[in-house]
Structures are given as structure tokens and as C-alpha cells.
């Protein structure tokens, strides 16, 4: 029976090799997911109004996109029909204040849900933000974030997509399906991650450990 040992060893190695190559193949197609709740990006001027001149935000957590972080501070956002308290501020400051809400929030606040990419704020609804030092009324900047996938240029090459391309994403599982109109955002300051909001995650049973696949 001793003669079998080298054969078994070879077989085991062959099987291991197959398993690791299957793993590798799946890894290249699968994209991690980042799930966003409602949040606010502030301009320096609006931050001064809401928190006081020279106020320094307190970082509590780095986000997966390099340089982005969650702050300890929150604000209340108030629309014509209602308010939502404790909306998290994300740093660093931006050139324009941007309020990213869930589609469901739009009914509570009384604003028209407007699906847009971050930064594309022309013609979007305004809102009032209230902080410990005062309030500001922005005339535009409230969006429901369009689903998108951050990646660097190397990822884009490997996934055979390009910056600005519209793709669909496929989700497996008992509540699975396909989301269309997902925008590729490829640049070398980005980490590979598909961004959807809490409602989009819940509707397909997606959590922070889920992986999605691009379909074209």
C-alpha cells in the first residue's frame, strides 16, 4: 500500500491547484460592495456656519475610498414636509455642499428624489441644514446617489470597462437580481468597490460581505 502514497500526494496537489485557480478566477470577477446610508458632504463655508468659524471635524472612521472619512459630527436636514436628525457628515470638505438621501427619505422631507452621480448637482433640490452653531439653506445639492463602481485604471483594464461606462450588476441569492444603470468611475485615486445605498442593499439582501458581478 506504500506505493500509493506518492500518487495520492500528486493527486492532492493537482486538486489543490485546481481549487486555487478556481478561487482566483472568481476573485477577478467579483467586486466588493460598499453600502451607504444618508450622509452630507459640506463646503468650508457651510461648515463654518453650522459648526462655527475654524471648527475642526473629528474623524471617527476611514472609508474604503482613499482620503474619505466619516466624522463624529451630524446635522439635521429639514425639507418642506419633515426633518431627519443625526445625518452623518463625511470628510474632507468639498467645493459644494451635497446631501445624499435615500429615495424613502425624499417622501419624509418633501423633496423630489433626483438620482444623480456625486458632484452632478445642477437643478437638484435644495434643503435646510441645521447644526449646533446655526443653519444654512442650500438652493441645490440634494441627490439620491446613482449606483456606481469605483476602481483604479488597472481594475478597469482587467474588468474590460472604462470610466463613465454604464453597466449592470448581478446579485445572487434568494433576493437576487440585476441593477441596471451602474456607472463605472475609474481613476487612480479609487479603490475597487460598488456603491449602493441601504434601500438598494436591503431590496436584494446585500450586506457588506456580499460580492457583485458586472454584466454588460
Amino acid at each position: 500500500m506504500d506505493n500509493y502514497e506518492p500518487i495520492i500526494k500528486l493527486l492532492l496537489e493537482a486538486v489543490k491547484g485546481n481549487i486555487s485557480s478556481i478561487d482566483k478566477k472568481e476573485d477577478t470577477n467579483e467586486i466588493p460592495v460598499g453600502i451607504s446610508n444618508r450622509h452630507v458632504h459640506l463646503s468650508q463655508a457651510d461648515m463654518n456656519c453650522l459648526f462655527g468659524e475654524g471648527y475642526q471635524m473629528t474623524k471617527i472612521k476611514d472609508l474604503s475610498q482613499p482620503g474619505q472619512y466619516a466624522c463624529k459630527e451630524t446635522v439635521t436636514i429639514c425639507g418642506p414636509k419633515g426633518a431627519i436628525e443625526k445625518v452623518r457628515i463625511l470628510g474632507p470638505v468639498r467645493s459644494k455642499t451635497q446631501v445624499e438621501i435615500l429615495a424613502g427619505d425624499s417622501f419624509k422631507l418633501g423633496v423630489v428624489p433626483t438620482v444623480r452621480l456625486s458632484g452632478d448637482l445642477h437643478g437638484t433640490p435644495g434643503i435646510t441644514l441645521v447644526g449646533p452653531n446655526g443653519s444654512v439653506q442650500i438652493t441645490e445639492g440634494v441627490i439620491v446617489a446613482q449606483r456606481h463602481i469605483h476602481m483604479n485604471c488597472e481594475d478597469a483594464k482587467q474588468l474590460n470597462v472604462h470610466d463613465g461606462q454604464i453597466v449592470s450588476i448581478k446579485v445572487d441569492g434568494p433576493r437576487g437580481g440585476i441593477y441596471n444603470n451602474v456607472v463605472i468611475r475609474a481613476n487612480d485615486a479609487s479603490a475597487l468597490e460598488c456603491h449602493i445605498d441601504i434601500e438598494e442593499a436591503n431590496a436584494m439582501n446585500i450586506n457588506s460581505l456580499s460580492k457583485i458581478k458586472i454584466i454588460k
Copy 2:
């Protein structure tokens, strides 16, 4: 020029005829949508505990499914991590109490989100319900409703599906996509309607005027 009149009349009628037949064709494929928020169906015994022996619910609105209605009354549902107030009761009473929550509610309440069809309650989480007359603790009955399409047998024949069949639904628009694992529920006590919850509706920008299509 008078000679043209009958020709124009004929052309107009032909065009009208085409338009109405196109409308008809689209209608046969498109299915109206009913969007559910969290709600509770009570057994008679649990209703007696929560509202008092012999209490009569007040109907405020008929629902699209024949015989089903929303009541004025609400309860608080309490899980190990949190409570949700003002959860609507739907009538009439059922043989077993069933609490239908949103996936997002499960985190707030601290219960495992369990996607099930209405009535399939074995092994689902329990919860405490609180009403004006007392509270009841159910040992199972909390579900996240599996998306489904009610229809009568004539609809099923026309749509070429059968009771219990799993299909996908397609949603158009800027936040469109496909939901898989949608169950056909065909019986002659049902009206044609695709039931999804608020999170599923918001994730694809679906409202009560939206139409969906079955894909197989």
C-alpha cells in the same frame, strides 16, 4: 380639396385602430404594482389580548386584493434590540399572527431577516407586539415578504404562468433592473398585482403607478 375628407377620415380611423391595438398589446404584458410597508395580520386570540375581548377593528381602506383591508388600529412591535411604533394592522383576522417587516427593520429590531411567502411561518423569528390592552409574545411569525404576483387563473393562462412558478420581473427607468425569485400566486380570489415592499420599490424607483413585466 373636399375629396380629401373621406380619405383623411379613413386614415384617422386606421391610425386610431393601430393605437388602440398597441395599447391593448402592452396592457396584456404589464402588471400593476402594490407597494407594502411593514404591517401586521392578527389572530383573533392575539387581537383580544392587544385590544380587549370583543374589540372591533375599524376599516379605513380596502386593499386591492378582494376582502383585504387596512385598519385604523396600529401596534408597537418590539424585538431584542429595538421597537417600531405605529405598525398598521391589516384585516381580516388570520389563523396565525404574522408580522411583515422591511429588511431594514430587522437590524433595528434585532431579528434575523427571513424572506418568506405569507403563511410560511415555520422557523421564522418571534417578536413582542404591544397594543392598548396588553402585549403578546409570538414565538414565530416575523417575515420579510418574498416578492410575489397575485393573479386569477385567467390572468395566469394569459401570462402563460402557473401557481407557485418562480419568475423574474423587469423594471424600466433610470433605476431599473430585474428582481429574481418572484412567486406566482394564482387563484380565483386574487386580483392581478405584483407585491413588493417599500425598500424594493425605492431601490428601483417604482411607485404605485409603475408597471412591471414578467420575464422567464
